[in-house]
């Protein structure tokens, strides 16, 4: 099945590198000890763990003891927000997040309202960039934590993290950033960018699923989420997942080694896909564009196809072997349109028609051509039956209805 699939949903998760998978095997079948054990296998595992930590720290210019391994970005975000809120509850109760956070930041922060915390959201502009004036105006004396996503998972906006970090540092406010999408796609330097806490993971960069990390700058204290053993500097209990951590480290090394080459390929594929899709009538390119395109993730394309609904586009493409995602309400678990798209000012019906394509180094030019061709056909089919095409564009209905009946490819 897999060889017929064109996978363009790498913002959700990615295929593991064969090299990484093979490397991990060794730690399941040969070097499978627990780092806490005192025997030889345990000592070996302990050395492996230290090696993984050293490698991961090196990729973001951190020190090894500043890296806490977790089960992934969701846990890291939960740990950062809840951990800081709890630890600093006597200092203040105000937390600032952006309006375009992942739910593992947004929902966690809002849930803290039950415990008396005040949450404010920083607004963004039409391309998803933080409004710095709004940000500064919302800082209070009681603000203990600011959390802003490094690069947006839906529309690819890369924030000016260094500036946001320095605004926080000057005011002695802790700054957390969720870099789940950015890590491996952008060169990150936690020291230069004034980052206090940073979430990142492995599986979006061809590493294993179920493993991630939280960078915690030396000197920053937080309350741990779970009780148990004294693993991970007594911040995160539970036997370390050594094979996954080794895979995380290997995938991070590969991403670093091939960084320039991969980025060049991704940007070229992204721009080819964007150009092809923007040739379709009545579409909007969501997120940074034009002179801001350099502040967009290299692998992200997000487009609204007007007058039709995203889940139907997604299902048609899926039946044709193409995997993408949508910001429509009908494809979301909560039945609400993407809050990212409404935050940048899209109306609900514009958010419903959005499709996100996230590329990887495994995609090819031929696949891009294939996707452009199929999306163009599917959009035409759905518009031909849409009850939402305005009067002035009625040609979309009548003209295409005929094409649709003749060309029943969709059901194959």
């Amino acid at each position: 099945m897999a060889q017929n699939i064109i996978y363009m949903d790498n913002g959700d998760t990615s295929r593991i590198d064969d090299e990484t998978l093979e490397y991990m095997n060794h730690f399941y079948t040969n070097s499978y000890g627990n780092p806490v054990s005192l025997h030889s296998l345990g000592m070996e595992a302990d050395e492996n763990l230290a090696e993984a930590r050293r490698i991961i720290a090196g990729t973001i210019n951190a020190e090894p003891e500043e890296i806490i391994f977790t089960s992934g970005a969701t846990e890291s975000n939960n740990m950062a927000i809840n951990g800081i809120a709890e630890y600093l509850k006597n200092k203040g109760n105000h937390i600032l997040i952006s309006s375009v956070e992942h739910s593992s930041v947004k929902a966690v922060a809002h849930r803290l309202k039950n415990d008396g915390y005040k949450i404010d959201e920083i607004i963004v502009d039409s391309e998803g960039f933080i409004d710095i004036e709004d940000f500064i105006s919302k800082i209070k004396v009681t603000t203990i934590l600011v959390s802003v996503i490094y690069a947006n998972y839906e529309i690819g906006t890369i924030q000016n993290i260094e500036e946001i970090g320095s605004i926080c540092r000057e005011r002695n406010i802790i700054f957390h950033t969720d870099a789940a999408q950015a890590y491996g796609k952008i060169k990150i330097d936690v020291k230069k960018e004034n980052i206090d806490l940073m979430t990142f993971n492995a599986h979006k960069n061809h590493g294993p699923k179920g493993v991630g990390a939280l960078y915690i700058r030396k000197g920053i204290k937080l309350r741990k989420l779970m009780e148990g053993g004294a693993h991970e500097f007594n911040l995160r209990p539970g036997t370390e997942n050594i094979p996954a951590l080794m895979g995380f480290a290997r995938s991070a090394e590969i991403a670093q080694r091939d960084f320039e080459a991969n980025n060049k390929i991704l940007i070229s594929l992204r721009d080819k896909l964007t150009d092809g899709l923007l040739k379709i009538d009545h579409v909007t390119f969501n997120g940074p564009k034009g002179t801001n395109i350099s502040k967009r993730l290299p692998h992200n394309v997000d487009i609204t196809f007007h007058y039709i609904e995203g889940e139907a586009i997604l299902m048609h493409l899926s039946l044709r072997g193409i995997c993408v995602s949508s910001g429509s309400a009908c494809s979301s678990k909560t039945l609400e349109p993407s809050h990212i798209l409404t935050a940048i000012g899209l109306k609900h019906e514009q958010a419903h028609g959005s499709i996100r394509f996230t590329l990887s180094k495994f995609n090819t030019e031929e696949e891009i051509d294939e996707v452009i061709k199929n999306v163009t056909e599917v959009v035409q089919i759905l518009r031909s039956m849409s009850s939402f095409v305005p009067e002035e564009h009625s040609e979309l209905i009548s003209k295409n209805a005929k094409t649709f009946y003749k060309n029943k490819k969709a059901g194959e």
């Binding site: 299902m315 039956m385 209905i397």
Partner: protein, 219 residues
């Protein structure tokens, strides 16, 4: 596929039946809205002597199950007497497709109610029913709330036990909805759906909907 659609649903989605618009239709209705992400339009040809639906076509803006339920609904009502269609249950389109995921059950309600709305307009037009002067009672409110599906379970809010209180106090309507922790993620959706259905009554009442967590947490 993550969404478990039946083969029949996929079939109706990719090869919709009775697609289009009937020119000079006897009855027409559009239900839903683009903002909600689903909107279906029906046009019908009805025999004035026999009251049999002789033809029906649809257009749809919506997800795969929205298109599929509208498509199968047109097949289900074709050749039927309008009274028979009026008595159809709102989940019948879903059953006919071999079931829908709970989160998609509302599509079936929209598909069936769209046809019923067209029939109601037709009956008004021919004078078979009088222009409704709706008297709002607690019972009628419950009937309206039966059209709102709890996406977690695919069952309407009333039968799912989510309606904690309904009260009419002069010009004010109060509705209190309670959600279990695993239903709380749908709070915004349920609120929108309830408001949409109540506002469709076009009454002059002030409507207040409160959504509570059954565990007492903030939603």
């Amino acid at each position: 596929m993550a969404l478990k659609y039946t083969d029949k649903t996929i079939d109706h989605f990719t090869k919709p039946r009775n697609l289009g618009t009937i020119e000079h239709a006897d009855a027409e209705a559009t239900e839903g809205s683009p903002a909600c992400g689903d909107m279906v339009n029906y046009t019908l040809k009805i025999n004035p002597d026999t009251l049999i639906i002789e033809d029906i076509k649809f257009r749809s803006y919506g997800c795969a199950s929205n298109i599929a339920t509208a498509s199968i609904a047109t097949e289900m009502v074709m050749g039927k007497h309008i009274d028979e269609v009026k008595n159809m249950g709102t989940t019948q389109a879903a059953s006919e497709l071999g079931g829908l995921p709970p989160v998609k059950m509302h599509c079936s309600v929209l598909a069936i109610n769209g046809i019923k709305a067209a029939i109601r307009e037709y009956e008004k037009k021919i004078g078979r029913i009088l222009d409704e002067k709706r008297v709002i009672t607690e019972k009628s409110l419950f009937n309206i709330l039966k059209n709102v599906i709890n996406p977690k379970h695919g069952v309407n809010l009333v039968d799912n036990g989510n309606i904690l209180r309904v009260k009419i106090d002069g010009q004010d309507i109060f509705i209190v909805i309670g959600l279990e922790p695993d239903e709380e993620m749908y709070a915004a959706n349920i609120n929108e759906e309830v408001m949409e259905h109540l506002e469709a009554m076009k009454c002059s009442h002030e409507i207040m909907v409160k959504i509570e967590s059954k565990t007492g947490n903030f939603i």
